[in-house]
Amino acid sequence: MRTLLLLAALWTAPAMAVDSAAEGKQVFIRVGCYQCHGYAGQGGSAGLKLAPEPLPYDALSTFVRGTTGAMPAYSTTLLPDADLQKIYAYLKSIKKGPSADDIPLLKNLQ
């Protein structure tokens, strides 16, 4: 019975991760993360890169809740922990793309 439960858990885990990441992308957009960090979390002049390879969740959470810098903090009222976890699932789901050397337009830049 324990084996069956474990198998069931393994079977559903990737699907749940996908759902969570998809929901996380929606939250990422709804609460405005994309505005400074870009839709893919790539960062830019207004905000740091968040993905791929995001910070550990605890570090991200601590920053989001308590920052006093240019980025406004998000209280749990504005962004419940469950939603922040979904955002994190989205950021984790963003795969590392090709490197600059694999992109001809970037490879040839001085």
């Binding site: 609460v31 505005q35 839709y39 893919a40 830019g44 600059a100 001085q110």
Partner: protein, 572 residues
């Protein structure tokens, strides 16, 4: 009046037509033959001034604009403020009818003021209201001189309708005064020697430049100064100052360099306080010093030579250690000589070592920029880095000029492209006034056309909608200009501000889009351009479609016409 204008080698006059300057308008066409200056038909006075603004930065020469003294100048005012903040020479002539006994009923009363320039006097360098043709001639020549003397800025003349329209008698008595351009002032030799001594004695000197370079020689001298000192250069981008491919260009590393500096030289930087202090836009509006105790700050520039009180573009007072009044570009040869004579032979090795270390850091930063550009390469909306890279691939073999700002594009052009000549870009609006972009680009593109260069405009969506009639002007006058839109479907800076306020107030960002986004419906910018006869495509949402579309657009521009691509992009 036309003879005086021609004596100043003014090639263009930009205007939306207005009856208060009908006399001058007709004289330009028929007496002047509509050449030197040629009349450029504009669809808004803000566009007339912004066109003159862009043209002046691309050529170093003023373009004239004409406007009604009341209804025209009020439209033009915002663009004049940009000129003022950006220290750009633009000359305006306003139509006005002073003699109340001669005014046509109704309209000429509406189009006349006692003191028309009063409403812009706080942000023009000089103005006059000539009472005779001789007076007009002397004041226009004087105005040209004042506008083009650093710190440069806009000037205004009021041309009375009677002076424009009356028959001339006794013209033999009229004399056009000889133009006598003022040579820009060099900083005091002793002060430059003191600055050189501080820079040479520094372990970590940093050079910060904003509106310094006007000529190829100026850029070469700035490079010489940096190389002689082995000092990194941070280019704030108000003008094209320092090559992006030079290993001493460390613009991307500004924050760390300023924190680690022991001597900082700023050149033609308006906001020195903002450079040396950290200001965080949080609820406390927190301020802290960026520089170490004991860091010496030297400022060199013309900002202290002319400023006014009302508008606060002069920025917060910066308590620098050595303030040198003088035109930075003009002062460079003397400063270089002073630095060379202050460097002992024994220090050459240390300077060379610093140069090598900086070259390594530069290479690392360029590699990091390329890697950062790769991250969202295939993202939709199209990543701003992808837009910049695709555009660069198509223009890099042209003698190109970026005739727009690039700050909203996360500065990707300057991080990825090769900016190697003094004319490669013309900076930004100056006063952060929206509506400058498209018209300034058209004005600069005229200069590029005349110089055989290829004008590239990265056009933001919100800016285009202020005065899109500039597109028509570009088509009508056959001005080759490639406009590639950074269309993020928002006044995006304001989206972020509202988000910040909502979070501070713990209210959520659900409504931050209200009043800040340009959606529902989306604007068909390609359709807008096509309606004015311009070749256009878009909206382009697939990054793979961008390169081929750019090729098609560039082919149109190379045939001597403007083209616009609407590209739906990431916010920044």
């Amino acid at each position: 009046m036309v003879d005086v204008i021609r004596s100043l080698d003014v090639k263009y006059v930009a205007a939306n037509p207005g009856s208060s300057f009908r006399g001058l308008h007709e004289s330009l066409l028929n007496y002047g033959g509509n050449t030197k200056p040629e009349f450029l038909t504009c669809m808004h006075e803000e566009s007339s001034v912004a066109m003159a603004h862009g043209y002046a930065k691309a050529t170093g020469k003023p373009m004239l604009f004409l406007a009604h003294s009341t209804v025209g100048l009020q439209h033009a005012a915002m663009a004049l403020y940009n000129d003022w903040c950006d220290r750009v020479p633009v000359i305006g002539i306003l139509g006005n009818i002073m003699d109340a006994a001669k005014r046509r009923p109704n309209i000429e009363w509406l189009h006349t003021a006692q003191d028309p320039a009063a409403m812009v006097r706080d942000f023009v360098k000089w103005d006059d209201q000539p009472a005779s043709l001789q007076h007009f001639g002397e004041s226009l020549v004087r105005g040209h001189k004042i506008a083009t003397t650093p710190p440069m800025g806009p000037v205004i003349l009021v041309a009375d309708g009677d002076l424009q329209e009356m028959s001339l008698h006794g013209t033999a008595e009229l004399k056009i005064p000889k133009a006598s351009p003022t040579r820009p002032p060099q900083g005091d030799d002793a002060a430059l020697a003191e600055a050189a001594k501080l820079l040479v004695g520094a372990v970590n000197p940093v050079l910060i430049v904003d509106r310094v370079v006007r000529t190829a020689e100026g850029m070469a001298q700035l490079v010489t100064l940096a190389e002689t000192l082995g000092a990194p250069v941070v280019d704030q981008g108000g003008r094209m100052n320092f090559p992006t491919t030079h290993p001493l260009n460390h613009t991307d590393r500004a924050g760390g360099l300023i924190r680690g500096a022991d001597v900082i030289l700023t050149m033609e930087v308006t906001d020195v306080w903002g450079l040396i202090n950290e200001y965080i836009d949080n609820e406390e509006r927190a301020v802290s010093s960026k520089i170490k105790t004991g860091t010496k700050v030297i400022s060199l520039g013309t900002g202290d030579l002319y400023l006014k009180s009302n508008y606060q573009d002069f920025q917060r007072y910066a308590p620098v250690d050595l303030s040198i009044a003088g035109d930075a570009e003009t002062s460079l040869p003397a400063l270089i000589a002073a630095v060379r004579s202050a460097i002992p032979q024994s220090q050459q090795g240390a300077i060379a070592q610093r140069r090598d270390k900086l070259a390594q850091a530069y290479t690392k930063a360029r590699v990091a920029a390329r890697e950062a550009a790769a991250i969202a390469w295939d993202a939709r909306p199209i990543a701003t880095a992808r837009l910049a890279a695709e555009l660069w691939a198509q223009i890099k073999n042209e003698d190109w000029v970026l005739v727009s700002g690039e700050g909203n594009l996360s500065r990707w052009p300057r991080r990825l492209w090769t900016f190697d000549k003094h004319y490669r870009h013309i900076g930004h609006a100056g006063g952060a006034g929206v509506g400058y972009g498209i018209a300034a680009a058209v004005g600069a593109a005229i200069a590029c056309r005349d110089a055989g260069r290829f004008a590239v405009n990265i056009q933001t969506d919100g800016d285009l909608m202020y005065a899109p009639g500039a597109l028509w002007t570009a088509v009508h006058h056959k001005i080759p200009l490639l406009s590639v839109m950074h269309n993020n479907r928002a006044y995006h800076q304001e989206v972020m501000h509202i988000q910040r306020m909502a979070n501070w107030h713990n209210r959520g960002v659900d409504r931050a889009h209200i009043g800040t986004t340009i959606t529902d419906p989306f604007i068909d910018y390609a359709g807008l351009a096509k309606s004015m006869g311009m070749w256009a495509e878009g909206p382009i949402t697939d990054p793979a479609a961008l390169g081929p579309a750019l090729k098609r657009a560039i082919a149109v521009v190379k045939q001597g016409m403007p083209a616009l691509l609407d590209v739906v992009c990431q916010p920044r």
